[in-house]
Symmetry: C2
Subunit: 487 residues, 2 copies
């Protein structure tokens, strides 16, 4: 699950402000939503805000990524840290109104925008909602393109071959952390059932985006371990949607809607299997059609139509857009166009994907990690417990694979550790439902931050120990392939 759902949650709190206004409004709601309030001089200002945000995002991603590459850490970690540096936790440059920041002080970027364009602070604040929304959507398109690229570099045959192992890894990786987390909170921390179940649910997530990116950087995406991790992470994404639906309805109504679960399970299976089967059937016609095209962007745009089509269907049936993008990548990887397509997707991914990672970092409030603040301490104790469960609960998954003595079981388990944006969604939904106490909510966020930020370097270490130092070299080869074009 991408961070699509995060605004969904935090938005709720601000709904009344509009409702106060709505009853006396003579115009339909659609009129005052969107940018209807943005007047004449403000239209170019939205573009200016988007440009400024992109400059900040790219600078943060490059500075962070290059720094991490130099100290032998995965560049994506640097992008996340770069995001934290420019986001709500530190420099306050990139603030998303969803995070509730507009109510207090405007971001530095908004002030800068207002001052440099001469539009004034108030006008800049008025457009900040709109351009932040544009950046959020660009970030979501970023993770869609990332998963498309991952799918394109994956091997469907290999994925089917490792399917049974991936299923075991995914299921153990959901059940083990959920049970140990929930029961531990109930028996060790004497919590009631609902908040404990929420925290347990947050432990089940796997951030496919972060893991896949690190695997790609280590050139381990097409290894057997890599394909098991990707397969399991995709299944975890589906399981995560189902767990979230169950927990959310449990918190809301106190009971579980069976029909909803059955619908989600069925629709995911039908979608994944159906689009792969249909996709493989139609892909020869797709290739034949692309061969007939004469104008620029023939292959790339035709492929993007297919990617966005499957992403849309996935969103429409309440799954995630990234599932559709990944499946589209898998299908197109099977065609003989995949090599040329991969080359063209690289610049697109380079442009869009950093937006996603920097935004994830920018939206993460790391102030809950500060032990000097007294109210953080109770949360940090719970967090310590959650982190242990989060790591052990996923690490053991690799050891559930029977046979295959040569496989790197530790790497598979470690690959499932990062909770990323998915874990934040659980924290957000829990917080909105009122089920979570303040310390427990902080503990979940701390767990998500640490698993997300620790997993990339851990993953590098466990792959390095098995390949005796080679992956680090491979990672530079990976970035060198892009540079070859320049020279």
């Amino acid at each position: 699950m991408a961070d699509v759902l995060i605004p969904a949650v935090t938005m709720v709190a601000r709904m009344p402000s509009l409702m106060d206004c709505a009853p006396i409004l003579p115009v339909p709601v659609a009129e005052i939503s969107g940018e209807a309030s943005v007047g004449a001089e403000e239209a170019p200002l939205i573009l200016a805000g988007v440009l400024l945000s992109l400059i900040v995002i790219y600078l943060a991603s490059k500075v962070g990524g290059e720094f991490c590459a130099r100290i032998n850490l995965p560049p994506v970690l640097g992008e996340l840290v770069g995001g934290v540096a420019v986001g709500v936790s530190a420099l306050h440059l990139l603030i998303f109104p969803e995070a509730g920041a507009v109510e207090t002080t405007p971001s530095l970027l908004v002030s800068f925008l207002g001052a440099t364009t001469g539009a004034g602070l108030e006008t800049a604040i008025a457009v900040s909602q709109t351009y932040s929304e544009v950046i959020s959507i660009l970030a979501e398109l970023g993770v869609v393109i990332l998963l498309f690229e991952i799918g394109l570099e994956s091997d469907l045959q290999e994925l089917i071959r490792v399917g049974p192992q991936a299923v075991i890894v995914a299921i153990v990786g959901v059940v083990a952390p959920f049970l140990s987390g929930t029961l531990g909170l109930i028996y060790l921390f004497h919590m009631t059932a609902i908040p404990a179940i929420f925290a347990g649910a947050a432990l089940t997530a796997t951030s496919i985006g972060i893991t896949a990116k690190v695997l790609a950087e280590l050139q381990q995406l097409s290894s057997e371990e890599g394909q098991i991790i990707i397969g399991a992470a995709v299944l975890d994404d589906v399981l995560g949607i189902i767990v979230l639906a169950v927990v959310a309805s449990l918190a809301k109504t106190g009971e579980v809607e069976i029909s909803n679960i059955v619908y989600l399970v069925l629709s995911s299976v039908i979608f994944l299997v159906g689009s792969i089967v249909l996709g493989r059937f139609f892909s020869p016609y797709f290739v034949a059609l692309v061969d007939k095209l004469q104008t620029r962007g023939d292959l790339l745009l035709s492929s993007l139509i297919f990617v966005f089509f499957l992403s849309y269907i996935a969103t429409a049936i309440h799954l995630e857009a990234i599932l559709g993008a990944f499946t589209a990548g898998l299908v197109l990887a099977e065609t003989d166009k995949h090599k040329g397509l991969e080359e063209q997707v690289i610049p697109l991914a380079d442009t869009f994907v950093p937006i996603f990672f920097v935004c994830v970092g920018a939206k993460t409030d790391v102030s809950v990690l500060n032990p000097l603040v007294p109210e953080n301490r109770e949360g940090l104790v719970i967090a310590a417990f959650l982190i242990i469960v989060a790591i052990i609960g996923k690490v053991i998954t690799g050891f559930t694979i029977l046979g295959q003595p040569e496989i790197n079981r530790l790497a598979i388990g470690v690959g499932m550790i990062p909770r990323g944006e998915v874990g934040l969604v659980f924290a957000g939904v829990g917080s909105a439902s009122g089920a979570l106490s303040r310390p427990l909510e902080a503990a979940i966020i701390v767990m998500v931050i640490l698993t997300t930020f620790l997993a990339p370097p851990m993953l590098r270490v466990v792959f390095q120990s098995s390949d005796s130092g080679e992956p680090a070299l491979n990672a530079e080869v990976a970035s060198a392939t892009v540079e070859d074009v320049d020279t």
Copy 2:
């Protein structure tokens, strides 16, 4: 000038609806603008709307572009026509709330979105403003990237060499249509001064986007004629901003603000000359920095930071973002990285640029062209006059170049004909100021549509006649270079 300004105008009419609400609101305006009204379930819906719009845009651009390529017309014309087909004039799939469509009936795409996602029509309408705004920004980024690509493929030395000719072409191309249009309307059609001046001003515009794209398709961008056209079109863009400022203040206050004109002239000259001089000075350091980077996207992202930086400055000083992007392209074209960069920009341009052209088409209401509607007829008569002036006024510019008998003077003049989105901005500003009568406004729009849609095929003919049929072949070579990568 890009279509950045179009919403600026049509927005004004809807401002009161918000104002009605504002005084009794306990929250700041920023609260109810943006997507604050978009509740919990609607967040993934925005992404779904963007995906759906992109599918429609890409389908329209490919179907239109391929069709035109087959009947030997420039593909970009097909993208415009494809946009008209899916836009406000025909299929009503891609509607921009700025065009005032939300008030009447929701677009087909919005209905489809509401039905397929199960969100319902009202929810879909509520998010349509936001996702349309995202598409508008993507279109603007599209023209930014197009002008960056054009700048990258231009030759600064050649541009400086043809500079004097370009200046003459630009100035004659502004003065001739303005004077003949304004005086013609006053003396032949007995109009008052202000509306006649508005219509005359609309005749001065040149759409650099459309002309540059056609030149690139004809492989004439680096020819002497091509460089004169590009140079003159860039100057026209600056002149257009100045003319618009003059006309708008004339319509509003009845007098011309000299200080504003001086500011615009000075800031354009300082910006263009300053960024090229400083850019050339700093570009060796830029290249050295890029050479030191190790992570993916090193060259592309560093370049985009530079492009967006100059675009931002241009916007901030009230010029156009595309001027900054073009200048950035010119500067980077001088470095030894330009070959590798061009290759990486192609997929990015292929993804973004069609959004711009399809959106220009989608926003154009061609119903004013229908002579069967009685109220269109008066406008069509004025339009016939304006079109003649529009074509002759620009075609003569090529013949003002002294010496150089071998140059294709007709091609230069024809290259300046398309008014594109810039002409629509004039119509929009005029319409908002209340200075234009309904027939005159319709006439300006008809003039813009026809010059925009006729110029690409005319340009192909005039270049073809001089090169005896070769350019058509070249255009296919141009698209083949992209395809080479696939095989």
